[in-house]
Symmetry: C2
Subunit: 334 residues, 2 copies
């Protein structure tokens, strides 16, 4: 994929929908030269705000659509900005459901200018129906109480922490941002539903007995729109260990305010209940709490309180420290 | 769709995989002139065995691929038979995942001869992400302990029984066979997984408060391959009533012998647990027992025993009688 990147935020006002841009800033910072926003946007990555022409001068070679809105559509109002990027010399990378290559204006300009339009939310061909067969190696899956609260970051931190301990571990990306970060993966939400569990099996093949696949979770089993994706991933990845991810203070489902957030306890219980179908030995390794809205003192207090209440390891993976070490220990304990 | 039909069984030896042919024989008998089998097939619908040329003479205008194998593939060995059908004057209707229009030999012959290739397993365009919004009207969903054991037949019988009582009711098809029978529906297992719950919402729109949508279930929440489809359908159809379908005597998952069948009790519990997310008032209306392998006396004894054991209405919908009346009463009781 061409890089470095200019991160396009469109006119986004909801930080939860800019997670592709944040993910690349945080996990591929050396490949990001700046951000490009439209009037009306209130979300920022904190990177330099650049026009496509300025970004090209600063070394950028591709614009990445950094937004992951509900439905994955490319807004009509973004097209002139995307054309401007092509004209400035940038290729375009998108992980939206809507495909760049289906937008005739972009296809026309890209062809004229010799630029690439790269849609990363494209499942591989020939995904099999899931077999349910037990595979060798160890698997950890991050699951959540909702979307957009830390399942990808948690998986990235856990896979890095395992490697720092000298353990063979792969981060397995299941969404657009993870795939751009890792350079590989399967966009689970884009797979035809009959084959979705099979895609998860394909993503985490047989491995050495002491190898860990750390799999990026998707959605939530208790989400009114996306639970099917979560269940396919749970069944197909047949995790030995789940880690439940939750954002401190979130009480309603993002974008579906009429739905209360499930509790951490409920989320553990329903994942173990259903996960047991393909891995009877499934267990919960702990909880990753996203405490980004809290001070360090508040965060530490909440982590300690939740650990006492739940009786399992709890950590904010982004804050690290001894809590994260205990969480990793808990995931590894047989 | 062109009809009457010649039902193509290929070289199928597993009755569970010939459910499209059986479904059309049982629910669209007046549109079926016969069956067409290849050497090696042991499954039969009991209809006259005809060549495509004989079927044309008897009035057939389309060959329907009557097989629903795991993965939905069109076997290489079937192609000459399908070409023979085109040559005899028949169009071809298929509900497989693999598309007739992707098989160049068939496309070439069909164009040459002026025949149609009709792929019914095609989701509608512009399916929205599920909103989770409560819709007006009543909904009943058949759910199962496995695939291919009576969810479609049960929904067809229940919708007919409701109409016979003067109640407004629609059968809502979610699979290939149901769609050919009903002439409408959405093939749930072919929808991209992020949109699958949205497809179920689209299938069962707002309706009059006393109208019932009776929705054909798919797979099983405890199936190692297809549970995602079942969960999307459960969340998106937000049923007021579920009816659990089970085949007497089946102990292992069809085609996945290493997985034991979940019990009826487990199946009720997990469907109510997850279904409550989009309809807190969800309840189980009863159990449809497929007793086709039993004598009438054995079937009646089993239905009575299961009714006593479970404490809810149990009936074999294909045998009808007072047990079915009690099941319908139970589904309608508020």
């Amino acid at each position: 994929m061409p890089s470095p990147y200019l991160l396009f935020l469109g006119d986004t006002t909801e930080p939860g929908y800019a997670k592709t841009a944040f993910g690349l800033r945080d996990w591929a910072r050396d490949r990001c030269v700046g951000e490009f926003v439209l009037p009306g946007a209130t979300v920022t990555t904190g990177l330099p705000q650049l026009t496509p022409a300025q970004a090209w001068t600063d070394g950028a070679r591709a614009l990445v659509v950094g937004v992951a809105n509900s439905g994955g559509f490319i807004a009509e109002s973004w097209i002139p900005a995307l054309e401007e990027a092509l004209e400035a010399g940038l290729d375009i990378i998108s992980g939206m459901h809507a495909r760049l290559t289906d937008i005739s204006a972009l296809v026309y300009r890209a062809e004229q200018l010799g630029r690439q339009l790269i849609d990363v939310r494209t499942p591989p061909p020939d995904i099999p129906i899931a077999s349910g067969r037990k595979r060798s190696g160890k698997r950890l899956l991050t699951v959540g109480t909702d979307c957009a609260l830390g399942k990808k970051y948690s998986a990235l931190v856990i896979s890095r922490a395992l490697r720092e301990r000298g353990i063979s571990a792969d981060f397995r990306a299941t969404g657009q941002t993870g795939i751009i970060i890792a350079g590989a993966g399967i966009p689970m939400d884009s797979v035809v539903s009959d084959f979705a569990a099979g895609a998860a099996e394909m993503l985490t093949p047989d491995a050495a007995e002491d190898h860990w696949d750390v799999i990026e979770g998707q959605g939530s089993l208790l989400h009114p729109s996306y639970a099917a994706v979560s269940l396919a991933l749970l069944h197909g990845s047949q995790p030995d260990v789940i880690v439940v991810c939750h954002e401190a203070g979130r009480e309603r489902i993002l974008g579906h305010e009429e739905f209360r957030l499930p509790s951490i306890d409920e989320t553990i219980a329903v994942n173990l209940l259903l996960g047991r179908r393909t891995n009877p030995a499934i267990r919960c390794g702990g909880v990753c709490l996203n405490t980004s809205s809290l001070s360090e003192a508040e965060a530490n207090a909440l982590v300690a309180a939740e650990e006492a209440r739940l009786g399992i390891a709890v950590a904010d993976p982004m804050r690290g420290g001894p809590a994260l070490d205990r969480l990793i220990d808990s995931c590894l304990s047989a």
